[in-house]
């Protein structure tokens, strides 16, 4: 009946703000992935070896795998509460392209659950005795790589949003898809330790980020239209 009064940009900002506000009110969504990351990273020295030399060798891989698992587990909160209270349907009914709405939700989600993990990674890197020259590589690769994990994970969550128990299905769907990011991230760190320049690897991660930025929200949007009736 009424004409469209908001622009897509305004709707994008509104969605982003709304999700950030909800995260601010429900702080456990921020704290949980962060704590999970810390705890998983703590398990490796206990499970493998507390010797500094051995830890230093595996530190980059441990950080990346812990970040990958934290990203995957935190994805559950991306659409679930919106699906349960019906606001996801409202989002689908909005006249704006769903691509931008999904993108806004993904960005908000990454800011809330991905960025804290990236920010705390140097601390964990220190505890795992990562060699000094690799700090920058770990930090930058996680900074560029974790948004890709969020964008890919969003597809998996969108496909399974209506299911009651989906933890394992989500893992089976999204973890194999994350392998290229994991490879690029850990290789960047390894090669930096060997003295190779970092920029090429960052460019590859950047390409993965841009590619998934362009395509993944489309897939997520299509998946949401299918699974939310």
């Amino acid at each position: 009946m009424s004409a469209v009064t908001t622009t897509t940009g305004a709707a994008f900002i509104a969605t982003l703000r709304r999700d950030l506000l909800i995260a601010y009110k429900k702080k456990h969504d921020v704290v949980n992935p962060f704590m999970f990351f810390l705890i998983v990273a703590t398990l490796f020295p206990i499970g493998i070896s507390p010797e500094p030399e051995r830890l230093g060798e595996i530190a980059a891989g441990v950080l990346w795998i812990a970040a990958l698992l934290a990203a995957m587990l935190s994805m559950d909160s991306l659409y679930r509460s919106d699906f349960e209270d019906g606001s996801l349907e409202q989002l689908l009914l909005s006249p704006h392209p769903l691509y931008f709405m999904v993108l806004a939700k993904n960005i908000a989600h990454w800011l809330v659950s991905g960025l804290p993990v990236v920010l705390v990674s140097p601390l964990i890197a220190y505890m795992l005795n990562l060699p000094d020259e690799a700090y920058l590589a770990v930090f930058l690769t996680l900074l560029i790589g974790t948004p890709v994990l969020s964008l890919l994970g969003s597809i998996g969550v969108a496909l399974t949003v209506g299911l009651g128990s989906r933890g394992l299905i989500l893992a089976v769907i999204t973890l194999p898809m994350s392998v290229p990011v994991l490879i690029a991230g850990t290789m960047a760190v390894q090669q930096t330790l060997n003295g190779a320049p970092l920029l090429g690897y960052l460019a590859i991660l950047g390409a993965l980020l841009l590619g998934s930025l362009a395509l993944a929200p489309l897939a997520s949007a299509a998946a949401l239209r299918i699974t939310v009736n």
């Binding site: 597809i155 299911l163 989906r166 089976v172 490879i183 290789m187 993965l208 395509l215």
Partner: protein
Amino acid sequence: MWLWFSKLGSPKWFYELSGKWLPWLIAVMSLLLIIGIVWALLFVPPDYQQGNTIRIMYIHVPFASISLAFFPLMAVAGTITLVWRMKLADMVAKTAAPLGAWFTALALISGSIWGSDIWGTWWIWDGRLTSMLLQFFLLIGVISLRSALEDTEAASKACAVLSIVGCINVFVIKFSVDWWNTLHQPAGSFSLADDAPNPPEVWVPLVVMILAIYCFFAVSLILATRNEILVRERRAQWVEDLACNS
């Protein structure tokens, strides 16, 4: 053209047509399989390095090559499902996923047996092995998504989206794993495509076996799709007639 297209999408039409073709396809497959297996196992000269172990190649290579076709197949079927809502395409996609998982598993297992002899180990993190294993995981993901979603309509579209995403992903994984692998293992290549070109008495039976396994793939896919058609169209009149007459 469109008439033909919509006819092609009709499960009944496919069921009848495939019923006519199937005996011929099975005959060709059996012939090729018998020729290929007898030739490969009895008459191919033993390899000068690998001896009789080379005969595993005649099983492994066909399965490995056909298992690469599953994600593109499922992505194409998924696109047809999403765009034209063709039921038949989804039935093919549904039956292709478990079949693909089996073929991939067989390629991995036969390769592992082969590797246990010529590499001295059952598993190495070689580029091809790793990407094959990841493809297997992705196929398992599609299968589990299909079984988790109860609504058939939603399941077919969701699996179509996942197949398209997975198809792109399989290529990215393939490239990234190859890249990872060459950086990790610069020396000691396990490549099999080395030295002199293989003589015809080695590769001709391989071509026969590849064709035989392709036929086997087509036959399995058609048989499984026919079952799926009967299950989904069980309330249709023509299926009832079929059941009463047989």
